[in-house]
Symmetry: C2
Subunit: 498 residues, 2 copies
Amino acid sequence: MEMKQALEQLEQLQKKLYAYTAAQSSLYLDGVTVAPRDTAAGRGVALGILAGEQHKILSDPQVGEMLSVLSQAQEQLTPEQRRQVELMGREYEKLSRIPAQEYMEYAMLVNEASDVWHQAKETNDFPLFAPLLEKLVEYNRRFAGYYDPNKAPYDALLNEYERGANMEQLDQFFAAVRDKLVPLIHAIGEKEQPDVSFLHRHYPVEDQRKFSDYLMEVLDLDRAHCTIGETEHPFTLGFNSRDLRITTHYLEDDVASSMYSVIHEGGHARYELDVNPAYDYTCLSGGSSMGVHESQSRFYENLIGRSLPFVQAIFPKMQELFPQQLGDVTAEQMYRAVNRAQPSLIRTEADELTYCLHVMVRYEMEKQLIGGTLEVKDVPQVWNRLYKEYLGVDVPDDTHGCLQDSHWSGGMIGYFPSYALGSAYGAQMLRNMEKDVDVWGSVARGDLAPVTAWLTDKIHRHGCMLEPAQLIQAACGDFDPTVYTDYLTEKYTKLYNL
Amino acid sequence: MEMKQALEQLEQLQKKLYAYTAAQSSLYLDGVTVAPRDTAAGRGVALGILAGEQHKILSDPQVGEMLSVLSQAQEQLTPEQRRQVELMGREYEKLSRIPAQEYMEYAMLVNEASDVWHQAKETNDFPLFAPLLEKLVEYNRRFAGYYDPNKAPYDALLNEYERGANMEQLDQFFAAVRDKLVPLIHAIGEKEQPDVSFLHRHYPVEDQRKFSDYLMEVLDLDRAHCTIGETEHPFTLGFNSRDLRITTHYLEDDVASSMYSVIHEGGHARYELDVNPAYDYTCLSGGSSMGVHESQSRFYENLIGRSLPFVQAIFPKMQELFPQQLGDVTAEQMYRAVNRAQPSLIRTEADELTYCLHVMVRYEMEKQLIGGTLEVKDVPQVWNRLYKEYLGVDVPDDTHGCLQDSHWSGGMIGYFPSYALGSAYGAQMLRNMEKDVDVWGSVARGDLAPVTAWLTDKIHRHGCMLEPAQLIQAACGDFDPTVYTDYLTEKYTKLYNL
């Protein structure tokens, strides 16, 4: 095979994979937004077949041949082409080990499991979901062997979401976090809590929609390339760097819930919109890893969105939109309310401080599920025990317990630690950003442009050109979780006069 | 190849084609509903590739071999399998003649043309759309040769939407319709028109949505398998017999517009929901032809929906939902208002009587465009001339003229005659249905079940098992357009005391 032909094939292959991913994303998006209720079966048939076709395309021996031609001529390739060969090679090796039939069956299983999980959560019926979770665990364990037979299965899964992450590093990370945060949380428990009652006045959905529009503007999310929709669980879906979708969920008795969902998902969207558009339709598009992705969403949500200057900057607009509800409230009171730290039941509603403990529960359980030391039937019991142990709260039912998250039903085992890693990455980014940019001066003016410009330069624009660890290293130096725990200690010590 | 293997391949092939169609439908649906404005380019890349892949799958010589094995063993096949071999064979022959590259380029062109047409219509800018229409005409002319090189190009295109239809038959059909209807329309022109002012009072969208919900119930459209959405142009999209989507468009100053869109699209959905579910994921699913499909939508919309018994049956609910607007109106007045016959500008808003003349304008122009006797640049001028000639109306601008319909931008040239044929089929179905069922007694009770049961038995359940002409023949005997013109003559003679 000639170089030129191989390069053409490389480009075509990536475009094809983009098309299949877009197709599956579109069917998924339809399923969680506007599709009629009882239509998962037909969508499952289509999704299974498309996944199978995608598998066939990528694991075709001709792809292996093309990649090998290009690997042997590295010096003639651009850096982008070299990286494409590296990433596609990795996928090729992996998919070649997964039998096509299993891959298709897994796609159909995930579609079914999503549907059943929704029902199970709605009706607090863990046993309904359990047989599917069992199959998902089994598939993930088997797939871990295909991903990387030289790794412990859970390490192989972690690696899919955050390349380089492993249990050894995460055990240390979580231990360090726990050692610092648990005493802090205890100390806060002794203190008086701020008033949050005004967050729970009546906030009509119609007005909250206008507030979302405003937040989209603050994040500079161009509506011609990024829409906001409404789903039970907020998420971000990117088709390419010119086509992003975020969703939120409005609670009429909690203005902060959708507010921080919009900023969080907006951060994910900001990342993908800022990736070099030349990477569209190639494997270099999108975020470098789930951890880095979460670092961006949580950067906008917490480090910026829950800072005093930001709350002060947007508070006049909040008062304008909600004059009845916030007329008697100050920006400072709002800042304290959205930062109340209190152990609670639901991860997505958790505050910045206790959030990591929610992730730890899931990390511990996933390790054991994949390791084989925890059976699916015991999930609710162990979940409830760990929530008591780590967070000190009693779980009233599985809907508010082990059925709360969609991840496992989507087949994502090994994803959760990304949230905690992302938070820690973010703190390091902030400290480095502060050296280069007048972060708080511009945030106080409601101007996020310098923040976004720094993140775009250091993180966003690179897409998947770098491994997550390289990207973090280049932007902030060595990964150091104490920056994160120091940040939290400082913030909460001030907030609670500890 | 063994029979058993060939049959398995036949099943797999059809499932695959279903998956690709579902993927493309989903991307299309997204594009016309929730996608951000400037995202057509990325969707076009995906749609082009998926169309190309679908083409490759279907035109694979192995498919030809499989079909030939099965053709030679017809007597061992079930009737369904025989029909599948026939239909797939037809598609295989056709696609084998279309070069893959052209097929892909065409899919991308259609995606772009849709986008540009939207803009052109919005800004009354035909020259913006003209270069794309030129390309679409050119592709359609070329494709006509691939579809059937033995036919005149426009006949080959007609055949894609209504198998068996041709210019000879349609010229006769339209001449017969024109001879009967034009004098009728003239006679009506001399008469006093009914009051329609109450249709144009203020009907808030929120209340119209409730009215749509009610109409969906009347049509027995199960919301777990059929949703109703909102788009600029109402349409129906079916993924399979358990997953239908209809859309409507609300005008606050015209209650009849969305009302009859819902009933029309509901008729399309009713058809597909009633197809034998065993045909799902095969080429036997869906409607037999565009003409038969339109016969069903227009049956519910006009023959039932614009009948006096139907209007009387639903009028109490209309008054309940719109007490301010309809408190001083009678069911009889409503019946007369929704049946006002008056030549107008917009096809989709046209009354039952003048509708065919709108179709004739398009038919004449398509014949000439494909025949090469009309240049795209002259389309507005000829359009306006024909509207004056056939309907006696002056077209104020292209937005309300030749840019009004989405069909051409979607590459559908040869589709329009289906609307007129469908109307004529419907009239024949009604006359035959009346022999078997107490149509008007049950409609007067607001009960459409016997009507739907008859249509399901004669038409819906068969899916694509029969050719359109066979289906009509079996349900109603020989096609006879005078049944249609007699129906209209009788209805409008009474309505206007002619």
